[in-house]
Subunit: 199 residues, 2 copies
Amino acid sequence: MVLPQALEDLIEEFKKLPGVGRKTAERYAMHIINKYTEEEVNQLTKSLSDAKAKLHHCTTCGNLTDEEICSICKDEKRDLSTILVVENTKDVFSIEKGNEYHGLYHVLNGVLSPMEGMGPDDINLESLWKRVVNDKIKEIIIATSSTPEGETTALYIKRVLQETDILVSRIGYGVPVGLNLEYADDLTLSKAIENRKKI
Amino acid sequence: MVLPQALEDLIEEFKKLPGVGRKTAERYAMHIINKYTEEEVNQLTKSLSDAKAKLHHCTTCGNLTDEEICSICKDEKRDLSTILVVENTKDVFSIEKGNEYHGLYHVLNGVLSPMEGMGPDDINLESLWKRVVNDKIKEIIIATSSTPEGETTALYIKRVLQETDILVSRIGYGVPVGLNLEYADDLTLSKAIENRKKI
């Protein structure tokens, strides 16, 4: 059976989303065709176009925003002397949900990866050096992920900043709160023991 | 942290897809914003609008098509004396993938469900009775699902057709091919024993 072209096209489009295979794409496509009114489809397409047209990276920190400077960089109640460096905007969401950190962010929008040809000029580092020079930054907390690329990026930032008197730190690794030890992987466990604290 | 409105809107739109929660919706939205070019977004929105505008139900069988009569109903090489009744277009895809059935289909686009106020006039039955009268149908195979609603629908069709000399059958239920018995549920197992065959 050959599917109608318009349906096949829509399924192919949905398949491009991360983690979406043929079956899920078919399900999304059928849902749109069977359940959505024309107006709802227009609303979806408008949201897509709007998001692409309006959102861009904050010129200060690289976070996603629909203004020139993002709401976090503009918020003067935050601790302006601390910058937490993350790989992408999603990490900012995750940390903001915790509502515990009140400093600023710097979003790299990538990691150093010689294998994929990602050098220091390909990620948002230039503006980090500018902030270090121009703003009164006391501490930079590096929260890139604990992959080889994330660690390389952390080391690179540390090395560039070692001449300055800024405190450069790395977020702590250990067993997640609430996780039973038997479910923690070996690497996490050894990190947890290495990072032990006197009680 | 308040997300930019355009991002929040897009996340809300993705959350309307079946089985998509907040996290997955965020992931899809970030993927579109970070990875898609403007042209790719246009292609996606065009596919959505096209699918909604061009696809509708075949006037004969209720299957999804971009023409008046779907490709299966138009195919004269198929067995025109057998109709397989399914709940929705996805079931047609599933059966066609098997490439074993060569008759026609009838897509109900729903099931009888007194609880949800779905009566015989709310699903695509009227055109089934027309086909029964006008075409030379010898057998109707009912493949609605084995839920109470699917069974009710099957019984209703059987009852309407019992005055005619059309053979009305129901697809076989049993243990799926390749499935280890220990993974089959009780109901399927008892159906499998009930539907046993002499070998």
